[in-house]
Symmetry: C2
DNA sequence: GTCTATAGATCGATAGAC
DNA sequence: GTCTATCGATCTATAGAC
C-alpha cells in the first residue's frame, strides 16, 4: 500500500523542520511528530535516515524551482516578463522573507560536505537561467552573468537580513531593487 | 590562577567551531579538543555551558566590529575614507568570503530565540553607523538608510553565495560593487 | 507499510579528587 | 582551575511483531 502521507507531503514537512531547526537540530522525534510516521516507517522510506531525507528535501526544493522559476526563465520569449515572473515566484516562495532558503542555510555549515555539489548545482542552474534570459534581452554576456549573480546575492542577503532584523520589508526591498536594476538594463538594451 | 588559554583565545576557538559546525553541531568533545579544556574547566568558565559560550562568542565578535568597523565609521571625518576602511576590514575579517558571518548564520535557525536581540542589535548598530557616515557625506537621510541596508544585504548575500559556490570571487565582487555604489553617491553629493 | 521495544552511541551536565 | 568518572537524557539505528 501507499504511505499515510504522500511521500511529497512527508518530504515537505521534513523540509520545514530543517528550515526551522537545521539538520543537527532536527531529531527523529520531531520528524515523527510532524509526519505522523514512526521510526520504522521513516527508515523504510529513507533507509539512510536523515541523509536520505535531506537529499529528498533538496531535490524537492530544486524541482519546485525548476518548474516555477528556472524553466519559465528558459522558455519565456519576453525577458522582462520572465524577470517579473521570477521575482513574483521568489517572493511568494519565501513568503516575503519570513521563510528562509534551505539551500543557502545548508551551504553555510551544518551538512556542507555531503551536499555541496547539489547545493552548488542549484545555484549554478539559477544563475545560468537568469543570465541567459538577460542575454536574450540584449545584455552582454559578461554583464548578464554579473547581474544574475548580483541578483542571487541580493536574494540570499535579503533573506539573511530579513531574518536577523525580523523585518520582511528588507527582503521585499531587496527584490524590488534587483528587479528595478534588471528592468532598467533591459530597457536600455531594448531602445538601442 | 589563570586559564591555560586566555579566555579570549578560548572564546575565539569556540567561535570557529560554531562557524564551521553550527551550535547544535558542536559538541563538548570538539570544544575540549579545540581549547585543551576539559568539561570541568569549561563549565567552570561558562556555568551555563554552550549558551554562555555562545553569548561570549557573539560579544567577542561584536566587540571586534565595534573597534574595527563601527567606531571608525563614527569617528572618521572623511566618509569616503571611512567607507574604504570598512570594506577593507570586512574583507580581511571574512577572509575574502571563506569565513562566514556567525551572526548571520545564527540568525537563520539554530539558536534564534535565545540570541535574536543581540544579533539584531549587532546589525542595527552596523546599519546605523554606516548610514550616519553617508549622511555626513551629504546623502539624504532616507537614501543613507537604504544604501546602508543594501550594503549589509550585499555582504551577507555575498558570503552565502561564496560558500554555496565555493568561490571567494563572488564575495569580493559584492564588496567591490557595494563600495563603488557608495563612492559614486558620495562623489555626487560632494560636487553639489 | 507501520508500529513498539530496545540496543548502542553520544551528548549535556554534575560530582568530587587533585 | 583542572581533571576524571559518571549519571541521566537524548539520539540514531535496528529488530521483530502486526
Amino acid at each position: 500500500m501507499t504511505l499515510r502521507m504522500t511521500r511529497a507531503e512527508a518530504v515537505a514537512a521534513i523540509g520545514e523542520l530543517f528550515r526551522e531547526h537545521g539538520y543537527h537540530g532536527t531529531s527523529y522525534g520531531q520528524i515523527t511528530a510532524a509526519t505522523g510516521l514512526g521510526k520504522g516507517s521513516l527508515y523504510n522510506h529513507f533507509p539512510n535516515g536523515k541523509e536520505d531525507m535531506t537529499r529528498a528535501v533538496l531535490d524537492h526544493v530544486h524541482a519546485w524551482f525548476e518548474d516555477n522559476v528556472f524553466e519559465p526563465l528558459d522558455a519565456s520569449p519576453n525577458p522582462s516578463e520572465a524577470i517579473d515572473h521570477m521575482f513574483a515566484a521568489v517572493r511568494s516562495y519565501f513568503r516575503s522573507g519570513r521563510r528562509l532558503c534551505l539551500l543557502g542555510a545548508f551551504s553555510l555549515y551544518d551538512v556542507r560536505t555531503s551536499f555541496d555539489e547539489e547545493i552548488a548545482a542549484y545555484f549554478t542552474r539559477w544563475v545560468k537561467a537568469l543570465a541567459a534570459c538577460l542575454r536574450r534581452g540584449g545584455v552582454s554576456l559578461k554583464e548578464s552573468r554579473d547581474l544574475a549573480m548580483a541578483v542571487m546575492v541580493d536574494i540570499q542577503g535579503g533573506l539573511v537580513m530579513a531574518h536577523a532584523l525580523d523585518d520582511s520589508g528588507v527582503f521585499k526591498s531587496s527584490l524590488a531593487r534587483s528587479a528595478q536594476t534588471l528592468h532598467i538594463r533591459l530597457d536600455a538594451c531594448a531602445t538601442v
